[in-house]
Symmetry: C2
Subunit: 428 residues, 2 copies
């Protein structure tokens, strides 16, 4: 069956060579057994089992625990050498398979192997990480976001196409409800008032920009370098009759012009890179009115470390989740003051669980567009992200700021939590 | 009239020498006029006026604006040389006087002179700043907090003797109400549950520790190195019948032992010094149960800079208000994760306004204890602090944290803002 989309994850995964089929029947050698033992030791205490191609099993005595099946000698060697990268590569092409709950398996690996597997390469990665220039930024964003609006529509919330952390104000909320709650949460945190102007940096398919205009009566100028997303967003604005109040601009956030009462960026900072944080701060300083407020929503870390190398290679080239300390580099040199930080990591775990459920339900549809490797890779990415947020290797920071010394800020955060849309009581 | 307390602000202020009286009648010389012009230029645009001892006035044309009267040539020279230190010294001993609203004057100076007066010495100060060892820490704390419980009782809230930022949940709240609201705010943010144990680092006169035990049913071990405060706190606990549930320990936070469900520190970090943040983090890591939460409440800054040198010399030796970036040094290396940050700087401005009002009302009582210099110095400290928080040169951060990956955290912050004491809905 021919696919309507080519596999967008980059050069073909290093797949089984001719000898693999033979190897899966071959008996493991001495080196294989030594490496298998080492792998087991690195994961000691984790509730999971490892199995070689000849059926030998190591690990937890719990026979209900997830089972990782390593299908050939080459796969075993690559897994021991660089597990953070190769697990994803090998799982995607089927040379490593998982029986049982994939999320639970990854949570166990993150919790127990985090220290044992942490490679010096990860530290080095940070040193050699460089801020993407505008061309590189465009390539990176194209890689992930331009693989097809129809693909994302299969598993994101249909109402607002939010590809960022939702806010489950109540535990029983659906994904659609939680994405709506997230957008209200963002708008209330920056205290949007009717008639105000907003600059949004990194606007996805435009769902939040349109929501702000529709529900809070603001004008929005929204930037994005993903061509497919901007085309979609403009069409959506026209269909909603909001094209006169929401302008979608296909350009880099660094080229943002004009002034705004609120600067909002939800899910872009991960792609900005620490080398550009001061520049982002300068852009905000240039655009924000004296009384202005801003919000940055980003995946983050407790400690600085690059993103998982497989995720960077296959899913998000150039992505980097900052620590809170690194995020202050946006604000400190540019006379901006932190008013509020909220960590929503377990809301992102729930969001990703909902996405993964939708993705699994839509698998037939996805297979019509992409090949099996893509389906497996994407499932691993979603499941691994759930595990990252539940185990706390990933955080989700919403940071609210204003100009230093600007006193038109609300007295308390209470209005954010009030269903009556009374608005905040201001200090001065 | 003999004073019951000696002036506790350190060596006597460099006072008027014999020649001052003569100088106040002498005509300003060429150098005086040059320096006076320079001072005026540094404060250009500020709504204030400067006056020399011969009556000449520079500055705002608004005759209602505050007037700074410089009474002699030596005072003028010292003011130009090192205004951040000398304004306080000269005001305290009456060689600089202020007609009009002292807070308004200081706000104008902070807003307009912040850049012009910023001295290279301030930057250098940060470099040479060193963490106080335990002996130095004891001397520093003794200097400020052991000057007499009866003195602080004249102007703090009588109910809980809170010498930290209050929380004005509603604008019309009194100081007493706002201090009660602050204590609830802190307890709710760390989700205290009946029967839990709390370690409090830096407990003042014990008001918060007793409040937590009384209202939230927890056991508290509270540390303080101020002897006078600990003696007072123990007596207070006995009077309230809470001595079996609240233990006041006269010791450094670094010697804290045992485990706790919540670690709380309100208004101590300012005295810890950045060189000790990692140690504080280690203490927390040693004491906090796996599911534990913590809160640090501290005066802070948008950018790193030492405290005003006069405040450090006369009021708070060794004090340093950290940036949010610097505060992350407590958490990052010790496996702790930021959950929530709230900036309450304008609540501190209001708290200080209320304290200043009480202080002015109690001036007769203060004069019975201390000399005129002390009264003037303390008034300047309170007024200057109001100005610091309103102009945004000072911040007030409340930071909530938990262990990285600890998932027993509430889903949202909504319960903090609910008057029904229902408690939070937990994630897991």
């Amino acid at each position: 069956m021919s696919k309507t989309h080519s596999n967008p994850l980059g050069p073909r995964f290093r797949d089984a060579d001719g000898s693999v089929e033979a190897q899966t029947r071959a008996r493991p050698g001495v080196v294989d057994c030594f490496l298998f033992e080492r792998l087991g030791a690195a994961l000691a205490g984790a509730r999971l089992r490892l199995q070689l191609w000849n059926g030998v099993i190591l690990g937890s005595e719990d026979r209900e625990s997830p089972l990782v099946r390593i299908r050939d000698s080459g796969a075993l060697r690559r897994l021991v050498l660089y597990p953070e990268l190769e697990f994803g590569e090998l799982y995607s092409c089927g040379r490593v398979e998982v029986d049982g709950d994939l999320v639970m398996l990854l949570e166990e690996i993150y919790r127990h192997a985090a220290r044992g597997w942490r490679s010096a390469l990860q530290r080095l990665g940070r040193v050699f990480w460089s801020a993407p220039d505008m061309d590189r930024a465009r390539q990176n964003i194209h890689h992930h976001y331009d693989i097809g609006n129809d693909f994302y529509q299969l598993w994101l919330d249909p109402d607002a196409l939010q590809y960022t952390c939702a806010y489950y104000a109540r535990p029983e909320m659906s994904l659609v409800q939680a994405q709506t709650a997230k957008m209200h949460h963002v708008c209330r945190k920056v205290w949007l008032q009717p008639g105000e102007s907003v600059i949004e940096a990194g606007c996805g398919w435009g769902g939040l920009a349109l929501f702000m205009a529709r529900n809070y009566g603001v004008r929005v100028r929204a930037y994005n370098i993903s061509h497919e997303q901007i085309v979609y967003a403009r069409d959506w604005a026209r269909r909603e009759g909001l094209a006169d109040r929401v302008e979608f601009i296909e350009d880099d956030y660094r080229n943002a012009t004009g002034r705004c009462d609120a600067f909002v960026s939800v899910g872009m900072l991960e792609h900005v890179g620490p080398g550009n944080y001061r520049t982002l701060g300068k852009v905000i300083d240039r655009c924000l009115e004296p009384h202005g407020r801003g919000l940055i929503h980003s995946i983050g870390r407790d400690r600085d470390a690059p993103l998982n190398p497989w995720i960077r290679k296959r899913i998000f080239p150039g992505a980097y989740p900052p620590t809170l300390r690194e995020m202050t580099e946006i604000l400190e040199p540019n006379g901006l003051s932190t008013l509020d930080v909220e960590n929503l990591r377990l809301h992102y775990a729930q969001t990703l669980r909902d996405w993964l459920g939708n993705f699994n339900s839509a698998e037939t549809g996805v297979r019509r567009m992409f090949d099996e490797e893509f389906v497996r890779a994407w499932r691993l990415y979603l499941a691994g992200s759930v595990a990252g947020f539940t185990t706390g290797t990933l955080q989700l920071f919403q940071l609210v700021f204003a100009r230093a010394g600007g006193n038109r800020i609300p007295r308390t955060r209470e209005a954010v939590y009030s269903d009556e849309q009374t608005g905040p009581v201001w200090h001065g």
